[in-house]
């Protein structure tokens, strides 16, 4: 207690030195992390900003590279093709969105608010479309509703080639995306609101309109914009089943690949960027609001059994799941038929890809290679990048920049990204020109295309870690990379596997960005589907789409086993 009586120099005049602003010296950790963060920023700048910039530039220059202002835009606006394509695009995107979000809402509602059995199965079935390229439903629709289709009668004489086919295909393909968003929105309901409403003797319908729907409104808004953007920028489905029904996304493709008119392609690409940017903004806003809706004290809602409602919900889910299975099943069936529709004996003739257009089995092997590399490097880059953004001390400007750049791909449709990549990398004086036509450019482009969701997954996982891990290791004089390897990565392993799976599956199925970038030595399976369909080899196209689906499904299964094994081995430290 010797110190107890020591007088306190409270508010005594301070020495001049003490008033000087403090500048803390950087530790080696700080330096390493800052250097890493700068590298990540550079990587994002080169792989996102510069290509998109190249696209912007292209839209304003003539064929010799001279600046022409808005000339291309004027030319495009003047052509009647635009107004038709624009109207068509908005029509199918709007219709698909309404149908898809409605179905997704019903399905999500049944999964979260009723006591139907086999919810796990229904969830798994709803995820099926994610594992297939968007071309698969389109091809299946040809077999279902084409002029020789199994269920041609169902269209009452209308043609599947056109808006009907596009809308059905797009709904199938975007359904899981909408479902995830809406399910999340519905899952975060506060049971107390429902109890209060029930206590006030509100009818079930009234509760639905006054509590359920408003509670999920941000999720619905978000899903609406996401689906609309996906549809308006997708060209796989309209390409296969659109017939003569032109849409914007296909226009880009026609201009660039068909007519090698890069400038005009850039112009249409920019037009497509608009809904994507809008959707991005709305989605960000909606997510913030949705998060705010759920207070910390919210009580999770436990659905109560209601025989009638449950039976209706079960029928609805069964119908939707059945539709998904029918589409998938048709593709598999058609791929195994010897000669549709005249010889349906099963054979693997359509899997003889080496004698078809589109790159043969090599394109499938290329896809595997591309997807593996994307998963490997993408996961490493994304996770390390997210960690650097989260854990680098101070350095706020660069951290903010990286965070912004990491979210940017969310607002850039694959088609636009792919275009930007050609414009940027094709220039012979670009130091990265050597990447052009290589597998690496496909990997880079695909990582970037799907960067944002992976980044957000990583950030979420990192935010769940104790924020003081880094403080503890610094105080223990342990270099941060050691803590990163020994603690951060092992603890985040489930999220890391999630990211790897997400990147792998998307790399297997993606068409939109890579279609502009593949070279003869880097043909991809998804592109082969497109090319075989083009040449009229629809059954082999279906077969390749099925191969992609099976591969994704298998990897998904492996992932399930891996996470289960991981959780079991981590049981010791995860659960008491």
């Amino acid at each position: 207690m010797a110190t107890a009586s020591r007088p306190l120099a409270a508010s005594a005049p301070l020495s001049e030195a003490a008033a000087r602003p403090v500048r803390q010296a950087l530790s080696r950790d700080d330096l390493v992390m800052r250097a890493g963060l700068v590298l990540v920023a550079l990587w994002l700048a080169i792989s996102i900003v510069l290509p998109v910039w190249a696209l912007l530039e292209k839209a304003f220059e003539g064929s010799e590279g001279e600046f022409v202002g808005l000339a291309h835009f004027e030319a495009y606006l003047a052509s009647p093709a635009l107004s038709i394509s624009l109207r068509n695009s908005i029509l199918v995107a709007g219709l698909s969105t309404v149908i898809c979000v409605t179905l997704a809402f019903g399905y999500a509602w049944a999964l979260t608010r009723t006591c139907i059995p086999a919810k796990g199965l229904f969830k798994a079935l709803a995820a099926v479309p994610i594992l297939a390229p968007s071309l698969l439903p389109a091809i299946a629709l040809v077999y279902l509703f084409g002029n020789q289709g199994l269920a041609r009668w169902a269209l009452l004489g209308h043609s599947i080639y056109g808006p009907i086919g596009i809308v059905i295909g797009e709904v199938f393909w975007t359904f899981p995306h909408a479902l995830i968003i809406v399910t999340t929105a519905l899952a975060t309901a506060d049971a107390r609101l429902y109890e209060a409403a029930a206590a006030l003797k509100a009818s079930r319908a009234r509760i639905f309109w006054t509590v359920t729907l408003p509670g999920a409104r941000y999720g619905l808004v978000s899903a609406t914009f996401v689906v609309f953007t996906l549809v308006i920028t997708d060209f796989g489905v309209p390409k296969v089943i659109g017939g003569s029904f032109n849409v914007l996304a296909v226009d880009v493709y026609k201009q660039v690949v068909g007519q090698q008119n890069f400038q005009m392609g850039a112009v249409v690409g920019l037009v497509l960027l608009l809904p994507a940017l809008l959707s991005f903004a709305v989605d960000r806003l909606a997510q913030r609001r949705q998060a705010a809706l759920l207070t910390a004290r919210a009580v999770p809602l436990e659905p109560k059994a209601d025989p009638l409602v449950d039976r209706l919900a079960l029928s609805f889910c069964s119908l939707v799941a059945a539709a998904i299975l029918v589409i998938l099943g048709t593709a598999i069936f058609a791929s195994l038929a010897t000669y549709w529709p005249y010889d349906l004996t099963p054979s693997f003739r359509n899997y003889d890809f080496d004698n078809m257009d589109g790159g043969g089995w090599e394109s499938y092997r290329n896809s595997l290679e591309m997807a593996s590399l994307t998963a490997l490097f993408g996961t490493a880059i994304v996770f390390t990048g997210a960690w650097l953004v989260e854990k680098t001390r101070r350095f706020a400007a660069i951290r903010g920049l990286v965070q912004l750049l990491a979210l940017l791909p969310l607002a850039i449709p694959g088609l636009v990204l792919g275009l930007g990549y050609i414009f940027f990398f094709v220039e012979p004086d670009n130091p990265f020109h050597f990447l052009y036509g290589s597998m690496a450019i496909l990997v880079v482009c695909t990582i970037v295309h799907f960067y944002s969701v992976a980044h957000l997954t990583a950030v979420t996982a990192l935010k769940q870690l104790d924020p003081e891990f880094e403080s503890v290791s610094a105080s223990l004089k342990v270099p941060l990379w050691r803590t990163f390897c020994r603690v951060t990565v092992p603890v985040c392993l489930p999220a890391i596997l999630d990211i790897a799976l997400y990147l792998f599956v998307n790399a297997m199925t993606t068409v939109s960005a890579v279609v502009f970038l593949y070279s003869p030595r880097t043909q991809l399976a998804s592109i082969a589907v497109l090319n075989m369909d083009d040449a009229g080899d629809i059954a082999p196209a279906a077969a390749m789409a099925v191969m992609i689906f099976l591969t994704s499904a298998m990897v998904r299964g492996l992932y399930g086993l891996a996470t289960r094994g991981l959780l079991a081995s981590a049981q010791a430290w995860r659960r008491r």
Binding site: W43, Q259, W340, G437, D534, G536
Partner: protein
């Protein structure tokens, strides 16, 4: 960034080896060949060529005629191709007009039919084979609808066929272009366009590729596909219930030809391919797919194509077709683009 990129490439190579097993050694010269040949033909040509020239490997960039042409034109400042093989002669003439082709007289040029080469000496391109238009007529579907088989171009405008005919878009497909070119040459411009206006009424869709109309007819998706004889023959061989019909007015046709791109850095290998392309071995392979090939005396008959193709070919003015290609396509697009499949 070079270090990570290096790493990327190292792992790339490693993973490639892992996934695919050992690939062929990289020591051979690799030629980038732009082509519009059918994929099912490429394999055989490649195998035969690489067997004869083990030090050269071929890398195909394959797409339909229109796209390969557009790609070559777009890349003219910085050409990526070493050789163009199996592209329509009209397209090669167009490229020659841009000064993209190297004059070269392949070994054995003297044996090639004089009509099947660039008249210049040395020629910028040499023909390989002739491909010509044909109808694929689905007898099963026709039976269901009570449709008679058409025998002539004129028959196709019969309203009975409304919505049952598909043809390739001439902007993307060489097969499509040779039909349009033939109509305009044989009927004269005015009547030719008039004919197409009438035909347009019956067309269900203009497809991207020349093969697709026949494939679709084979699958019963539409009754009649306007395509070319090789695809028609193959589709029937695959088991489709179709009849291959040669319209009696005469067949539009074009040559598939080979030329060396002036800027190639692999001239020796490129010459080897050009030489091989007019060899007897190559011509025998062509003959398995086409009735008329560059060397005399190797002509064959296609199993399912009845009629004398060579005799039914129209008189074709390639120079006119090449010179007017852009104008014709622009006019065509203006008139009929609405029914085009994407990518035209």
């Amino acid at each position: 960034m070079t270090a990570p990129d290096h790493l990327v490439r190292i792992v790339l190579v490693a993973t490639t080896a892992l996934l695919v097993g050992t690939r062929a050694s990289q020591a051979a010269t690799e030629l980038t060949v732009y082509t519009a040949l059918e994929a099912d033909q490429l394999k055989a040509y490649q195998q035969a060529f690489e067997k004869a020239n083990p030090d050269v490997k071929l890398r195909w960039v394959r797409d339909s005629t229109g796209i390969v042409t557009a790609k070559l034109l777009a890349e003219k400042a910085n050409p990526q191709a070493d050789v163009v093989m199996g592209l329509a002669a009209t397209s090669l003439m167009l490229l020659d007009g841009e000064g993209l082709l190297l004059p070269y007289a392949p070994e054995g040029l003297g044996k090639v039919k004089p009509t099947m080469r660039d008249p210049a000496d040395p020629p910028k391109w040499v023909g390989m084979d002739v491909w010509s238009s044909a109808f694929c007529f689905n007898t099963v579907e026709a039976g269901k609808r009570g449709l008679k088989a058409p025998t002539s171009w004129a028959d196709l405008t019969d309203t009975a066929y409304k919505g049952q005919i598909t043809m390739p878009n001439p902007a993307s497909s060489g097969t499509g272009f040779l039909m349009v070119s033939a109509w305009l040459q044989t009927m004269g411009e005015e009547k030719g366009w008039g004919y197409m206006d009438a035909l347009h009424q019956n067309i269900a869709a203009y497809t991207h590729s020349g093969s697709k109309p026949c494939r679709q007819a084979g699958a019963g998706e539409y009754v009649i596909g306007l395509s070319f004889e090789y695809r028609a023959n193959k589709t029937k061989k695959d088991g489709a219930p179709i009849e291959v019909i040669l319209p009696k007015e005469g067949l539009g046709w074009d040559m598939e030809a080979t030329g060396i791109v002036k800027t190639t850095k692999k001239l020796e290998a490129a010459k080897k391919l050009a030489d091989w392309a007019i060899s007897e071995e190559a011509n025998r392979l062509y003959a398995q797919n086409f009735a008329i090939v560059a060397l005399p005396g190797i002509a064959s008959r296609l199993e399912h194509v009845k009629g004398d193709v060579e005799a039914m070919l129209i008189r074709n003015d390639f120079a006119w077709a090449a010179a007017n290609r852009e104008r014709i396509l622009a006019e065509w697009s203006k008139r009929y683009d609405g029914k085009s499949e994407p990518r035209s």
